[in-house]
């Protein structure tokens, strides 16, 4: 393929525009900057990386073979293994990898200003996340669609396999806890949000019954009915909010709501999937794709001004939302959207069993992650179009800025981000809420941002509707992640327990289902409970822990990929996965180091535990805080040990990979490559199955 002179000029122009946009974003100081520059910078970076870097990886590093039959063709069973149209696979893959993560991470990281997060999203995705997803997808396709854990075991040995399994289970627990916390913070004392989110449960059940009993398998019909009901529930929530007798039913403290979420999680895990989980997933997927599409259109249509400065003073680590300096914490705060280890599970799960031809690995693996990264950029835009004062007022926990509105605005204004009580009251009234203070976690500020973008693009009269639509949209797929995650955690736990007692390993034996579901729910329920009672907001603890664990899984995936590259005799290309691995190992380790050893009580777990123990002993804590203090002290210590565990696992896997690589390079025996033999593809060249 020789490129014409026009193509070269075209790509040259893209490069210049991209450089100008990135440069404009990076060097802008003092004045506000238009969001369209973010879109332009992102589009150019993605286009260049996709056109050149991913093509080079496909041709030189992985050497994709169009003539080779994929598992979908060789093992076609009409169900999970099935050659499928590449755009359909792309849709499934994207829907599977893009969850609430890329929306929450950038919103939290906006406390550093828009620049660090935006640069990391762009660079991390094209050099790290996309590469990870693409290589793991490729290696899984060459191995009959095996999972990351199996590949780690086959290629590195039992240590890598066990690490992948334990790592995944731990991430699941922390992820669910922090997502639960985000929903609780959005719902506390908000009858509108609570009743709307509550209504999604019976709606999902109704859709489940429709798809199973009334019109079996009619997915589109059922989903459309469900979506209409969800929109109705948003409007109905407003009515409940204004109804004096119904309102108190949905007006709750955070802790009460946390218990509801925990109870719901347990029920969802033991109910049959068709009743709640599967229909909820259909609804959340449609909702997710539709809203992201709508948000893109709205941002392009109205081109909002970014009001957050490029950098804030909080890069020194004193940030109100979470403690810790910009290096390394921006790199673990934004995991999904830049590099997310969790994707490796999808790229080695359902996706490799559907691909009809190896050449589509580039579009699905690399392209899918490019799109998710773009979602993260839009979340960053939605968070930074807010006045910084408003952004911090919504996201700063009461433990940092004070419980009273007057104290909070005084404190935030003293940072140089002016905001007034009247402004916040007016905004809350517009959004149909009593207060927007201390709604830490990203969902409400994102919803305010989305509501103002939607409002100005599609009419301002319905701000409160847009706000609660955005809350419902996030809650729906956060709850889906919670259901699905609990279920996966249960399977993994049963798998592990099955080694000790075969009966417990039976996935359909009901006592075991109850026991293991209960154990998984108790595990994340514990972290959720602590997160809610923690006056500093819980997000400060849980989100870094989630970031560290997710980056640890990414490092495991990249270790597996690097190990396979070396064993395939491609040492000179091993940097393609080795360099992002080294970077992740560095940021994860230094972040973990600070979380464990820092003497800053808002960063170091042990420091926080000791500080609170001292205060408790000297009687400096008020009675309300002293009651919870022993639990919080225990939790800080537990979190420290958990962090240490993650880092140990991370380095064990890296050394295991280096050991295997060194043995291979010195000509000593290693586990053989587990690649399946070449079989020519019989599918016609432009063949599409439908």
């Amino acid at each position: 393929m020789k490129s014409t002179i026009f193509q070269r000029i075209g790509w040259f122009l893209v490069a210049i525009l991209g450089a100008a946009a990135v440069g404009g974003i990076a060097l802008n100081r003092g004045e506000s900057i238009n969001a369209i520059w973010f879109i332009a910078a992102a589009a150019c970076v993605y286009a260049l990386a996709y056109r050149f870097y991913s093509a080079w990886i496909a041709a030189r590093v992985l050497v994709l073979d169009e003539t080779r039959a994929t598992p979908a063709e060789r093992l076609d069973n009409g169900r999970d293994f099935m050659p499928t149209n590449k755009w359909v696979v792309f849709g499934h893959h994207f829907a599977a990898i893009a969850g609430p993560g890329p929306l929450i991470g950038p919103t939290l990281a906006a406390q550093f200003g828009y620049l660090p997060g935006t640069l990391w999203i762009l660079v991390g995705a094209v050099l790290g996340g996309c590469v990870q997803d693409m290589t793991i997808l490729f290696f899984s396709i060459r191995r009959d669609g095996r999972s990351l854990g199996q590949m780690a075991r086959d290629e590195l040995g039992p240590i890598g396999g066990a690490a992948a399994l334990v790592g995944t289970l731990m991430i699941m627990v922390i992820l669910i806890a922090v997502l639960g916390l985000v929903v609780v913070n959005a719902m506390k004392h908000s009858p509108w949000a609570t009743s709307t989110v509550a209504a999604t449960i019976p709606i999902a059940v109704l859709v489940g019954l429709y798809m199973r009993n009334i019109r079996p398998g009619r997915v589109l019909e059922g989903s459309l009915i469900g979506l209409a009901l969800l929109l109705f529930a948003v409007a109905g929530g407003g009515w409940i909010d204004h109804n004096e007798s119904l309102r108190p039913l949905f007006d709750h403290e955070g802790l009460t709501l946390a218990w509801f979420v925990i109870g719901y999680g347990f029920l969802a895990a033991i109910l049959p999937v068709w009743l709640l989980l599967a229909p909820r997933d259909y609804l959340s997927t449609f909702m997710k794709l539709g809203t992201i599409f709508l948000l893109t259109i709205a941002i392009v249509l109205m081109r909002p001004e970014i009001k957050m400065p490029a950098l804030t003073q909080f890069i020194d680590g004193s940030g109100p939302i979470f403690g810790g300096s910009v290096f390394p914490f921006v790199f673990i705060t934004i995991a999904c959207g830049a590099v997310s280890g969790f994707h490796a599970l999808i790229a080695s799960g359902t996706t490799p069993k559907l691909l009809a031809n190896e050449r589509d690995i580039r579009m699905i693996g690399y392209g899918g992650m490019v799109l998710e990264s773009f979602v993260a950029i839009m979340a960053m835009i939605a968070a930074t179009v807010l006045d910084p004062g408003v952004f911090f007022a919504i996201n700063s926990p009461a433990g940092v800025v004070g419980k009273e509105a007057a104290d909070a605005v005084a404190k935030i204004s003293s940072w140089g981000f002016p905001v007034t009580v009247e402004q916040m009251e007016f905004l809350a009234k517009e959004m149909g809420e009593k207060t927007l203070f201390a709604r830490t976690g990203g969902a409400p500020s994102l919803a305010v941002g989305m509501a103002s973008i939607f409002g100005s693009a599609f009419g301002n009269g319905l701000l409160a509707m847009w706000y609660h639509f955005a809350i419902m949209f996030e809650a729906v797929f956060i709850l889906t992640a919670l259901d699905a995650g609990t279920r996966v955690g249960r399977f993994m736990l049963q798998d592990m327990l099955g080694n000790f007692s075969p009966k417990l390993g039976e996935t359909s034996w009901y006592p075991s289902v109850l026991l293991t579901s209960g154990m998984v729910v108790a595990a994340w329920g514990y972290f959720l409970y602590i997160g809610v009672i923690d006056p500093n907001g819980g997000v400060n603890i849980l989100w870094p822990l989630f970031g560290i664990s997710n980056q640890m899984l990414a490092a495991i995936a990249l270790s597996v990929a690097t190990g396979i590259l070396v064993k395939s005799g491609k040492l000179k290309y091993a940097w393609v996965t080795g360099a992002p691995l080294a970077w992740l190992a560095m940021v994860t380790t230094s972040a973990a180091w600070e979380k464990v050893f820092s003497s800053d009580v808002r960063v170091g777990f042990f420091a926080a535990a000791n500080d609170m123990a001292d205060k408790l002993a000297s009687g400096a804590l008020p009675a309300a805080k002293a009651k919870f203090a022993p639990q919080l002290i225990f939790n800080q210590q537990l979190d420290a040990w958990l962090t240490i565990f993650f880092v140990v696992v991370l380095w064990v896997v890296i050394f295991d990979m280096l050991r295997v690589a060194a043995r291979y390079l010195r000509g000593k025996p290693v586990l053989p490559l587990s690649e399946s033999p070449h079989e020519p593809s019989r599918l016609a060249e432009d063949w599409v199955r439908d």
Binding site: D76, N77, G78, R79, D80, M82, T84, N85, W87, V88, G91, H92, A96, I97, A98, G99, P100, G101, T168, L175, L179, M211, R212, P216, G217, R218, V219, L220, S223, V273, W274, L277, A278, D281, Y282, A335, C336, S340, F342, H343, L345, I346, G349, T350, T480, A481, A484, G485, R487, V488, F491, T507, N550, R689, D690
Partner: protein
């Protein structure tokens, strides 16, 4: 064109899964009895959710 888009929507949502299963079944196992629509849908949902399906 509209027809193509409609087919794509049906396929990406899984609305036509049963028809595709029947086509596969007829081609790969001719003569054997196939599953009914409700039975197929029930098994598919069980299978789909036995693993990691959704990410963060």
């Amino acid at each position: 064109m509209l027809h193509k888009i409609w087919r794509f929507i049906r396929q990406v949502s899984g609305d036509d899964a049963y028809e595709r299963y029947l086509a596969h079944h007829a081609a790969a196992h001719p003569g054997e009895p196939s599953l009914s629509r409700p039975e197929f849908f029930r098994r598919e949902q069980e299978r789909k959710w036995n693993g990691v399906r959704r990410c963060c």
